[in-house]
């Protein structure tokens, strides 16, 4: 029986004056991969941002426990050191800081950095300012490179496939699968994933265990991710909206 890695209870989060998450409950066990579907503005990025501890996402109620401990009072760097990693959807450009500087600062061995950069076709980008003038695909590969070297226990990926061509989706998926120990027997897997996707392309490559639909700051339903994706592809999120309205009437 796998143990619980992340436990979120009744999480309410606001940005400025606007409440974005209205009471999210989510449990992720060790060795499992969860996928979150939802239309734009539904609260997907807010959820991973709040788990990471980014200060613009203010938790107003509820709790986030990681490995059994509440992490709400921890700054993001402590959460990162504890094993939470987030590959950003749109990371900022950082002038003067290149990937190599950063990766060295997070105290990784130079050979590991070069090997990982090689695997992600990013060797030529190591000495350029981070994310400055990077294409969509280069940004995603750079984010995954950072995660690969940080080796988080909980790997969160915010739309890892957007802006990436098919060939690179396969490359990224292979590396993500490896990071999530997908080749190991289920019982020995310790690392978990929380993947936000808009298109679902990535989950065809990475076998996800649980899917969730988030709508209007609430988790509407959870279940088999492939079934959920199929339903969204057939009916769009309109069906989810109807479902939410029905739930509200009840």
């Amino acid at each position: 029986m796998n143990t619980c890695l992340l436990e979120i209870k009744n999480l309410k989060v606001r940005i400025g004056d606007k409440t974005i998450l209205h009471g999210v409950n989510l449990t992720i066990d060790e060795g499992t991969v969860h996928v979150i579907f939802g239309p734009n503005g539904s609260g997907k990025t807010t959820l991973v941002g709040a788990i990471m501890g980014l200060p613009q996402y203010e938790v107003v109620d509820g709790d986030i426990k990681f490995k059994g401990e509440s992490i709400l009072s921890m700054p993001s760097y402590e959460r990162a050191r504890l094993g939470i990693g987030l590959a950003f959807q749109r990371p900022p450009a950082v002038k003067g800081v290149n990937l190599f500087h950063l990766l060295k600062a997070v105290k990784r061995n130079e050979d590991d950095i070069l090997a990982a950069a090689e695997a992600l076709n990013l060797k030529d980008y190591l000495h350029r300012d981070m994310n400055k003038g990077f294409s969509g695909g280069e940004i995603k590969r750079s984010e995954v490179l950072q995660m690969k070297l940080m080796r988080p226990t909980l790997l969160m990926l915010d739309e890892p496939e957007s802006g990436v061509d098919f060939e690179n989706i396969v490359l990224l998926s292979d590396i993500i699968k490896e990071m999530l120990e997908k080749k190991q027997p289920i019982v020995t897997r310790k690392r978990s994933g929380l993947i936000i996707t808009h298109t679902g392309l990535i989950i065809e490559q990475i076998q996800a265990d649980v899917g969730h639909v988030i709508l209007d700051g609430r988790i509407l339903c959870s279940g088999n991710p492939h079934e959920i994706l199929e339903a969204i592809r057939t009916h769009g999120f309109e069906r989810c909206v109807e479902c939410l309205e029905k739930q509200r009437k009840r």
């Binding site: 760097y77 990162a80 950082v94 002038k95 290149n98 500087h101 950063l102 600062a105």
Partner: protein, 365 residues
């Protein structure tokens, strides 16, 4: 020459190696107003105290106070009133002096007013690199330094001049310099100041002739209580002359004024200037004053200037990688100051990198 262990450390911080182990083509060390070391180790290189050069070569008189006039201001007048103290460094025609000449002006006596006058000549087709460090003994808190330097870059010669300042917090510094870059010549001036000084005020001017180039780079880190007023000017007076001015300034509570002036006065002249400033505290200021003047239609002059603070989202982003706020800030500051200075010997670049590293570690906001 008697130098204490402390003095030696202080000299090394500004790129001067008294031990003789670092590759240098020559040395010139002035303590207060006394020349305590003069060495030349390469053929084609001449190093003399300026007074001796004026006696040895009558023609040096024609270079003396010619680019920087005696009457320029009170400071140049003050220098002119005294017998010259300073160096004369010359690369003879065609000499390629690959290893740098090191020099240092060292204030050893408290409250000393050091006044120096230097003349540098890179004769036609020669190559010369000079590092000048300026510093004070560790116990000296106050003092004054006026440094007047005239650079002559003759046809197709190449001269790089790197000045590193590491003053005590209450020293007032007035470099006064000017360069003449003759046809096809290249003049590279690097200025690095990463510690506090009460006031540094400088405005070197280069006049660039046909096909010549002048490059100014400055890297400044201004802690609380320091005031840097630094200008750099290039006048492109003949066709095909070029200039580039790059300045990076970090105010960690100090005041920085970066002035830049480019004047294009002939056909196909080209100049570009970049002034970037980073403010780390509410108490400091950075004032970038870029000026462009075109007096001929076929000139191409441009500038970019930006002053601001580090964006929160950049720090937040780096923090999600496990770096605390101080480390994230210093990583950004280090990257900001990390200008690759062209034509520097690797060990000097390394020494500068170390100074930048130290300065950035102080920037804990």
């Amino acid at each position: 020459m008697s130098l204490s262990e402390n003095d030696i450390q202080q000299l090394q911080k500004v790129g001067y190696d008294p031990s003789g182990t670092v590759p240098r083509s020559g040395s010139f060390l002035t303590r207060d107003h006394e020349v305590v070391s003069l060495e030349q180790r390469e053929k084609g290189l001449e190093i003399l105290p300026l007074g001796a050069a004026l006696q040895k070569y009558p023609w040096v008189e024609n270079l003396f106070f010619k680019l920087v006039p005696k009457e320029k201001d009170n400071y140049t007048r003050e220098v002119a009133q005294h017998a010259p103290v300073g160096y004369f460094i010359r690369a003879v025609p065609g000499a390629r002096i690959a290893r740098p000449v090191q020099s240092c002006f060292f204030i050893k006596t408290a409250r000393f007013s050091q006044m120096v006058h230097n003349i540098i000549v890179a004769e036609p087709g020669s190559e010369l690199h000079i590092i000048t460090g300026c510093t004070t003994a560790s116990y000296v808190k106050q003092g004054k330094h006026i440094g007047l330097t005239e650079f002559y870059v003759r046809e197709n010669a190449r001269l790089s001049y790197t000045m590193i300042h590491d003053w005590a917090p209450q020293v007032r510094v007035f470099p006064r310099s000017a360069a003449l870059v003759e046809a096809g010549g290249a003049f590279i001036s690097n200025y690095i100041a990463l510690t506090a000084a009460e006031l540094v005020q400088a405005y070197p001017v280069a006049k660039v002739n046909r096909g010549g180039i002048a490059r100014f780079n400055s890297v400044i880190y201004a802690p609380q209580g320091s005031h840097f007023d630094l200008g750099m000017a290039a006048k492109l007076v003949e066709p095909e002359a070029k200039a580039e001015i790059i300045s990076r300034a970090v105010s960690d509570g100090g005041v920085v004024i970066t002035r830049g002036y480019l004047e294009g006065g002939a056909a196909n002249t080209k100049g570009h200037m970049e002034c970037s400033g980073l403010l780390l505290r509410d108490s400091g200021s950075i004032h970038a004053v870029p000026e462009l003047k075109g007096t001929f239609p076929e000139t191409d002059l441009s500038h970019e200037a930006a002053v601001g603070r580090i964006a929160d989202e950049e720090i937040q982003y780096l923090m999600t990688r496990g770096l605390d706020q101080e480390t994230a800030t210093s990583l950004i500051v280090r990257g900001f100051l990390d200008v690759r200075l062209k034509g520097l010997p690797p060990e000097l670049q390394h020494a500068i990198d170390t100074m930048i590293e130290k300065a950035s570690l102080r920037s804990t906001v």
